[in-house]
């Protein structure tokens, strides 16, 4: 089995446009090769379901929805490996913040608000 006993730290920026950002640490059981998205999904299932992250394809690097910022770089949470010595994850800096790691990435021509009075 590729399961090991130790945990890894994942620190996540929490908050919304209205609530000031704070950093929150989580400890996640580490599996060889796991992605940052794997870790975030584990946190949602086992610790805090209110942690906000947007994703669809989960694994295939095809939906492009799980964009986040790590070490100042824009990356996909689904393909970025969780480092054994921990990681800090921020929402995209150049998109309006919705909540936690979710930003408004909906293309301008696909917004509901375009159709409402």
């Amino acid at each position: 089995m590729n399961t090991t006993q130790y945990t890894a730290r994942i620190t996540v920026q929490r908050g919304t446009a209205a609530v000031p950002a704070t950093l929150q640490d989580f400890e996640v059981p580490y599996r060889n090769g796991m992605s940052v998205l794997d870790a975030l999904i584990w946190v949602r299932s086992n610790v805090d379901p209110s942690l906000a992250i947007r994703y669809s394809c989960t694994n295939a690097n095809s939906c492009k929805e799980c964009l986040v910022r790590i070490d100042g770089k824009t990356v996909y949470a689904c393909t970025y490996r969780l480092p054994k010595d921990g990681v800090t994850v921020y929402p995209l800096g150049n998109k309006p913040l919705v909540a936690d790691l979710v930003t408004d990435i909906i293309p301008p021509k696909e917004k509901l608000s375009n159709l409402l009075p």
Binding site: G33, S56, A60, C63, R81, V98, P107, L112
Partner: protein, 559 residues
């Protein structure tokens, strides 16, 4: 009070089926609202497709759609709705040509579109876009056509929570925008359900997060019928270990086919032929039988460490691997996978749903004005889908649903009072106990339950236990609808998703219990053989909030 939005046609789901439906409806002059709970053309199953698209275009070898139909019916184990299968095979040719004209980029040899063999096909028939890029190329091409079609409005990040039916005819829908918490009403003269299948309900799956059965739940609640809901296709060699990120778990199929990858049990022995299947080198064992053989090996204690089988390319020279895999070999190396040195572990995973919404030849359900398209439709694949038929199904049924919906816009009645109707349909308002349920954990429990007891091998005891648990979960969450509030509302969204998933899971389980035989993807440990008397559909409708399963006759050509 009027509705927030009014259009001729509402299309729910923006994968290939939904986008094609929108394009086809707009070609008829209809005004279309194309809605996806994720992003248009990115969130569904289409964009994840990697390889083969079957169509009898006859460029690689002589072929005819009637031969494609023969192969489709043979794969379907006597349970196809032959009328739908025939439409699929005949019109796949036109749609593949249309995508070619839209410059999707089908792989070509010098003078023709390249077509390859795939399991269950009698001739090389499957087109694709290199490398492993069929889904993204198809999605990008259709997104462009949608953007260039007059009359289509696109909306991302909005999920349809209920359909509105008035005097037996669909009149629109209620919807929720997750990012803002906005609840809106949409009036439409026709609705096309193109929101995909249900494979996310199983623990091991190749699904996107959106494949939770929404389309089936919406159809049932609106009064439409579902058929063949017990038939879930398990893809035999889904990736299991080591952890592979950034790749679709079903990626191995074409390579195994191209190179002759060997399937081995935990003792490193070939086993497929022990199950009466012929597979070595040519990889022609059908999906249902291959999945079942792997399961039997694992149950006999001959599985791999992670509970599957080995897929080995170790006997293939490294340069041949590189030629066949192209840049994919580098992506694998980044995942620590060196195929020339070690095998990978594979396992059957839930991949596609054969069952679905019952439609006529115009893709209309028994509810007037309510249409379905793509994987959401049941019947064309019977008890087992032929590989390569899912994407053409999305194209063909999508195009038809949009076209026929747009031709039938008379007689719609509209919403008498949008606010009152929406309140009525949305049911009890939230209880305010917004933390009373844990939707993520509930879904995980459901996935494990279905994988263990409603997966590859079923029996009456396990199905009955599952039904009991699903029913109690449905009761538990019914009282715990989160209160609506402004702002980002994943809780309410997940409550709606979970409610739909539980209803659909109950329907699948009840159907599986009712089919007391083994056929195609439905295997019963307590009824090991096919029963000729059960060569008929099981239909599901909603009665007092519960799925009701009834036997129904098979539609054959000329019948």
């Amino acid at each position: 009070m009027p509705t927030d939005i009014q259009r001729d046609i509402l299309v729910v789901g923006a994968g290939a089926a939904g986008m094609y439906a929108a394009i086809a409806a707009a070609r008829q002059g209809a005004s279309v609202l194309l809605v996806d709970k994720s992003l248009i053309g990115r969130g569904g199953a289409t964009v994840m497709a990697q390889m083969t698209v079957a169509a009898a275009i006859g460029e690689q070898a002589p072929d005819h759609w009637s031969k494609h139909l023969e192969d489709t019916l043979a794969a379907g184990r006597g349970l196809c709705d032959e009328t739908l299968s025939a439409i699929l095979c005949r019109e796949a040719v036109d749609r593949i040509r249309e995508l070619d004209a839209w410059q999707v980029g089908w792989a070509r040899d010098k003078d023709h579109i390249r077509q390859v063999m795939a399991p269950g096909h009698s001739v090389p028939r499957c087109v694709y876009v290199d490398f492993l890029n069929t889904g993204p190329a198809v999605a990008a091409t259709l997104r462009k056509q949608v953007a260039h079609s007059a009359g289509i409005d696109r909306v991302s990040g909005v999920s349809i929570t209920d359909l509105v039916v008035n005097d037996g005819r669909v009149a629109g829908a209620c919807a929720l925008e997750t990012d803002t918490g906005r609840q809106i009403t949409i009036a439409a003269k026709a609705v096309v359900l193109a929101a995909g299948g249900l494979t996310r309900l199983f623990e091991r799956n190749s699904a996107s997060a959106n494949m939770g059965g929404d389309a089936y739940a919406l159809a049932l609640k609106a009064g439409a019928e579902l058929i063949d809901m017990e038939f879930v296709q398990f893809f035999p060699i889904g990736h299991l270990a080591p952890r592979l990120v950034g790749m679709d778990p079903i990626m191995w199929d074409p390579f195994r086919y191209k190179l002759g990858g060997r399937l081995l049990n935990g003792d490193r022995e070939e086993f497929i032929e022990n199950y009466g299947l012929s597979d070595s080198g040519s990889y022609t064992a059908p999906r249902d039988a291959a999945s079942f053989a792997i399961l039997r090996e694992v149950q006999a204690g001959r599985g791999t460490p992670s509970g599957g089988a080995y897929l080995s390319f170790e006997h293939i020279p490294e340069e041949d691997l590189r030629t066949a895999f192209g840049p994919v070999i580098d992506r694998l190396q980044k995942n620590g996978i060196d195929l020339s040195r070690a095998p990978v572990e594979v396992s059957p995973i839930a991949h596609y749903h054969m069952g679905g919404i019952r439609v006529d030849e115009q893709m209309q359900t028994r509810v007037k004005g309510l249409y379905a398209a793509g994987e959401a439709v049941g019947g064309a694949s019977g008890a087992n889908r032929l590989s390569g038929n899912a994407i053409p199904e999305a194209f063909v049924f999508g195009e038809r649903a949009g076209r026929f919906a747009a031709k039938d816009l008379d007689g719609s009645t509209g919403w008498p009072d949008a606010k009152a109707t929406a309140d009525l349909i949305s049911g009890p308002q939230g209880c305010g106990k917004n933390d009373a349920i844990h939707p993520v954990r509930c879904l995980a429990e459901l996935q494990k339950l279905l994988w263990d007891r409603v997966g590859l091998l079923r029996d009456a005891a396990g199905l009955n236990q599952t039904l009991d648990r699903i029913r109690s979960m449905r009761n538990e969450i019914a009282d715990c609808k989160p209160a609506h509030r402004e702002g980002f509302t994943p809780g309410l969204q997940e409550w709606h998703d979970l409610s739909a998933s539980l209803l659909v899971a109950e329907t699948v389980t009840a159907s599986a219990l009712e089919r007391t035989e083994s056929r195609g993807a439905h295997q019963r440990a307590d009824f090991e053989h096919s029963d000729p008397k059960q060569a008929r559909h099981l239909a599901a409708t909603l009665a007092d909030g519960r799925p009701r399963i009834t036997a129904d006759t098979l539609r054959t050509i000329g019948n």
